[in-house]
């Protein structure tokens, strides 16, 4: 731990010398809490209160403690947003915070709840896409975001050193320093932490006990090795996880676990193997069509398109987008890229691609209008956004969902400032 702290400090000193004008000192931080100040998880709350001793801290909370300036929603226009870092702790803030264009937008969110409403999933995706830094509260959410964007950190309270990297990244980022080096350090540290945990569990297993979470740990470790660019290790751990889950009688291992082998095979340059592996795991009409399409693209020499689609099917939207962006002149690639951007929450990027891929049918046209509406809302053009939502619902009542969602988001955001009542 001490070594890590020393390393971080000396690296920052070094960066201060090289980043020059880009770095700014001790920017104010504005917190958008998940239900008043008391709604913030205690560990994070303690850290923020410590931070208030070093820099100005404001919060849209009616119960902020001494040393932290309490703001109400009516004071939104009193903040100099171009020179503050906003820490956003609930997806329902998205339509309020994003249009403000803060100097830094840090999404610090817990993982999605198991039965979460679709609206919050969408808001979470948009918020994370527009954020300049994401701090995830669970490992699953962290890995999901790593597959969608860069500048993602994990702060789940499971490992002190790992959390330290995340907290440090928030401070550096707020002050205008790059935190890429910390991302690599945290990923490598987390991979090693997982590895040590697995070794202990292997010893328990050899001694005849059944360590809980062993199979899932193997899978997570495989994903870390994939992220750190070690596909052979990723493969070994994935197959070990697959075997262990079968020993435990787990269901759906083919789709949920084994399929990821196809992404690893792509990383190893084995595109035909990867497509074949996906085919083995395909279930149901949609997936069989996907498998057929992948084979067809390979046969037609559209190798990059097949790779991009296969990354998408493994939820690695970031790699898919990187492959598709240079191919965007091709209609198939453009449609795939638009769909990828929408899943990633990058609405502006999707709209920039043009609408020919999305406006073929009436249903797609309405989807297009809703997307436009949401993108306008996130730009702060509320009236234009409402116009789009109304146009989408012109012929069908259920298409007015955009309006209903907006009303819900407004209501929840108001509740989120209150420490005496948690938002639903």
């Amino acid at each position: 731990m001490d070594i890590v702290l020393f390393f971080i400090r000396s690296y920052k000193n070094q960066k201060s010398g090289t980043d020059g004008d880009r770095a700014m000192a001790a920017q104010p931080i504005v917190v958008f809490p998940p239900g008043g100040w008391r709604g913030i998880p205690s560990g994070v709350r303690d850290w923020l209160e410590e931070l208030a001793a070093k820099r100005k801290l404001l919060a849209f909370a009616n119960d902020a403690p001494n040393g932290i300036e309490s703001l109400g929603l009516e004071q939104l226009n009193t903040v100099e947003w171009g020179s503050v870092a906003a820490i956003v702790m609930h997806p329902a803030w998205v339509h309020i915070v994003v249009p403000l264009k803060p100097h830094c937008l840090i999404a610090m969110l817990p993982g999605p709840e198991s039965n979460e409403e679709e609206l919050w999933s969408k808001c979470r995706a948009w918020l994370c896409a527009y954020a300049t830094l994401v701090v995830a509260g669970t490992e699953a959410f962290y890995l999901e975001q790593c597959f969608r964007r860069g500048s993602v950190f994990l702060m789940d309270g499971m490992d002190e050193t790992s959390d330290l990297f995340a907290r440090q990244a928030v401070e550096w980022h707020s002050d205008g320093f790059e935190s890429d080096m910390l991302i690599r350090l945290q990923q490598r540290h987390r991979a090693n932490w997982r590895n040590e945990l697995l070794r202990k569990q292997e010893l328990e297993l050899a001694a005849g006990s059944k360590p809980s979470g062993f199979a899932d740990g193997l899978f997570f470790h495989s994903v870390y090795r994939y992220l750190t660019g070690e596909p052979e290790y990723a493969r070994q751990h994935l197959l070990a996880s697959f075997e262990q889950m079968l020993h435990e009688g787990r269901r759906d291992t083919l789709q949920n676990v084994y399929r990821f082998l196809s992404a690893i095979e792509l990383e190893q340059g084995h595109v035909h193997d990867a497509v074949r592996t996906y085919g083995y795991t395909a279930q149901g009409e949609t997936e069989w069509r996907n498998a057929e399409q992948l084979s067809g693209w390979l046969a037609a020499g559209k190798r990059e398109l097949a790779k991009a689609q296969l990354y998408r099917l493994n939820d690695d939207y970031r790699k898919a987008a990187a492959l598709l962006e240079p191919l965007a002149d091709d209609p198939e690639a453009r449609a795939l890229l638009a769909a990828t951007y929408i899943t990633m929450g990058r609405l502006d990027s999707a709209l920039l691609l043009g609408n020919d891929g999305l406006r073929k049918s009436a249903g797609d046209r309405r989807q297009w209008q809703r997307l436009q509406g949401t993108a306008l809302l996130l730009k702060g053009k509320r009236h234009e956004a409402i116009h789009c939502f109304l146009a989408a619902g012109e012929h069908r009542q259920e298409e007015l969902n955009g309006m209903i969602d907006l009303a819900v988001m407004d209501g929840v955001a108001r509740e989120l400032t209150r420490g005496d009542k948690e938002a639903d």
């Binding site: 697959f242 075997e243 079968l246 291992t253 083995y280 498998a291």
Partner: protein, 250 residues
């Protein structure tokens, strides 16, 4: 869709059926009948002979459909999973489409043999399970009681070979699964088609010898159940007459 290929690139026509079998000193028992029977409905047979000291390898090699016969000089009997892996690798080298894992004392009922092509030329499932009946003291009756009821559960013996799939056997010295357990993840079909197992159909002396062998190999019941072993010597087992059937019931 490419010609002859179905869901996920699975071959739906012209699939080759390969029987795989590991043997050891089977010459004087059911091997010849089993190979003759298999030759009637499979395309190829792959055999690993695990250090036989009788004429088993020569007998096996005399069948035209035996396309690969691997002979172990030293037996791998005490590391059964290695033997299973060896047989699997030998079969892989023959580019199979479907593999039928058979023991030298097992016989598929006629309607199962008749259904075999229909079972393999499809793209809905990758494994097929049958019902294994333990014949007892004769080839006319099978045993059914608390210890002997294997036929009440499906048993996977027929699998599609998927090149590049991850195949793994549990590292068991004895009673290792006859097929890679990773097949359990793939879609399968349970049938009521039957297999006749003649391994216990011989004399009481033969069964006693088997019991003695099990107790010597596994005296603590590490790989099997001691109660199951003891039931081999049951003087009055419940036996049921086998009824042949013309066609599949269900």
């Amino acid at each position: 869709m490419a010609s002859g290929l179905g869901k996920g690139g699975r071959k739906i026509t012209g699939n080759k059926l390969t029987a795989i079998m590991q043997v050891r000193n089977e010459a004087g028992r059911y091997l010849e009948a089993a190979l003759a029977d298999l030759s009637g409905f499979v395309d190829e047979i792959v055999i690993v002979d695990d250090g036989s000291t009788d004429d088993t390898p020569e007998l096996a090699a005399s069948f035209g459909k035996v396309v690969k016969l691997v002979r172990n000089k030293d037996s791998l009997f005490h590391k059964e999973w290695l033997l299973r892996e060896q047989l699997w690798r030998a079969a892989e080298e023959t580019s199979p489409d479907w593999l039928l894992a058979v023991d030298a004392d097992e016989f598929y009922e006629d309607c199962a043999k008749a259904a075999m092509r229909e079972l393999i030329n499809q793209d809905d499932y990758d494994t097929v399970s049958f019902r294994m009946y333990d014949f007892w003291d004769s080839v006319t009756h099978y045993r059914e009681d608390d210890w002997w009821n294997l036929h009440q559960r499906p048993m996977m013996t027929l699998v599609r070979y998927l090149p590049g799939f991850h195949y793994a056997y549990p590292k068991r010295a004895h009673h290792a699964t006859r097929l890679p357990f990773t097949y359990n993840a793939l879609p399968g079909l349970d049938t009521d088609l039957r297999i006749k197992h003649y391994g216990w159909a011989g004399s009481a002396e033969e069964r006693r010898a088997k019991y003695d062998r099990y107790m010597k190999l596994d005296p603590q019941g590490q790989w099997g159940n001691l109660g199951h072993y003891a039931s081999i010597l049951d003087p009055n087992p419940r036996l049921i007459r086998w009824q042949e059937r013309e066609r599949r019931d269900g």
